[in-house]
């Protein structure tokens, strides 16, 4: 009996190690839990991309379930994602863009707002416009406060202005069904 245990214990240790490492093969190194979940959107005062005079604060998210989509015309995956976002908007979802530009680098180059607006208009004319409006994250401060690592990323914000989901990467039917659909429907029903 004692001898059996002597062989079984290393076997058990070995098997649990195998299971642990095997799971690692399928884990996505890019996904880490956002630290802002269940927290309100950080405070900000930022202009509308198309109408710089108009500014938004986090209060714009109150009262409506919102998909906040981080994007830019320089981002290739965002262009692939746009038609699907358009489809979501056609289904009646409220999508707001958080736009930031790579070339407006506070350390280096300066790009005029007019040029950014022109690029965005061209892109949206070409691929369809899913956004109710775009918030222009001029210096990428809000992106940093939101823990954005790049584009595209999407946040699901509830009627109370709290972040409920943070998705890194593009939105597509698979991601929507697996990650967003249940929570979105639940929030929208409230």
């Amino acid at each position: 009996m004692k001898k059996v245990a002597l062989y079984l214990i290393p076997l058990a240790v070995f098997l649990s190690l195998i299971i642990f490492l095997y799971q690692g093969l399928f884990s996505d190194p890019r996904s880490h839990r956002s630290s802002l979940l269940e927290e309100p959107v950080p405070e900000f005062v930022l202009p509308d991309l198309m109408n710089i005079e108009q500014t938004y604060t986090r209060d714009v998210f109150l009262g409506e379930v919102t998909l906040l989509n981080v994007w830019g015309v320089w981002c290739i995956t965002c262009a692939i994602e746009l038609p699907y976002l358009k489809q979501l908007q056609d289904e009646g979802k409220h999508i707001v863009g958080l736009y930031y530009d790579q070339d407006i680098d506070p350390d280096f180059g300066i790009k005029t707002v007019e040029r950014v607006q022109q690029e965005v208009t061209d892109k949206l004319n070409q691929l369809g416009n899913p956004y109710d409006y775009n918030i222009f994250d001029v210096k990428r401060d809000l992106s940093l406060d939101l823990g954005v690592t790049g584009a595209p990323e999407t946040f699901l914000i509830d009627q109370q202005g709290k972040i409920r989901l943070h998705h890194i990467g593009d939105l597509n039917p698979r991601v929507w069904n697996n990650k967003f659909a249940v929570l979105y429907d639940e929030l929208a029903a409230q």
């Binding site: 190194p29 630290s35 680098d105 350390d107 990428r140 954005v148 690592t149």
Partner: protein, 151 residues
């Protein structure tokens, strides 16, 4: 030949280090040498959230550039080491710092090696104690005979 190669390599390495140092000092000028040292230290131990396993000093991803600038801004505002790290963790989670926090999940990183050494030590002691039964004279004589036969 080898010595020449070595010298060239050494030169290249030194050149790399010095250019990095100059570049950071040019772009982010802090008012005290302590802060500059802290800036280098922090950018070396904060992890770029977008890239796999690069610190923000090392990476050229835009997010790393932004984080470097944020560290610089915070240091200018007299944040200390802990405050800067907390600021980053609040936004990017524990992932952003190379030193993991000690909590029930991560305590095993420290415990497991100690546990392993302990178990191995116990194992060694147990096998040591279990001495093999000494051979009797008959067996020894037999072994001796075989040895002699071989010679």
């Amino acid at each position: 030949m080898n010595r020449l190669m070595g010298a060239v390599l050494l030169f290249i390495m030194l050149a790399c280090f010095s250019s990095v140092a100059v570049a950071t000092e040019d772009k982010f000028h802090l008012d005290s040498p302590e802060k500059s040292a802290l800036f280098l230290e922090l950018t070396n131990e904060l992890r770029c959230p977008k890239c796999q396993n690069q610190n923000i000093a090392d990476s050229d991803a835009m997010i790393a550039v932004d984080l470097r600038r944020k560290v610089y801004e915070l240091l200018q505002k007299d944040y200390d080491r802990g405050q800067v790290i907390d600021y980053m963790k609040q936004r990017y989670g524990d992932f952003v710092h190379y030193q993991p926090p000690v909590n029930p999940m991560t305590i095993w990183l420290w415990l497991l090696p100690v546990l392993f050494i302990f178990v191995a030590l116990v194992g060694v002691i147990i096998t040591r104690k279990r001495q093999p039964t000494p051979m009797n004279n008959e067996q020894l004589a037999k072994a001796q005979a075989i040895l002699e036969h071989d010679e």
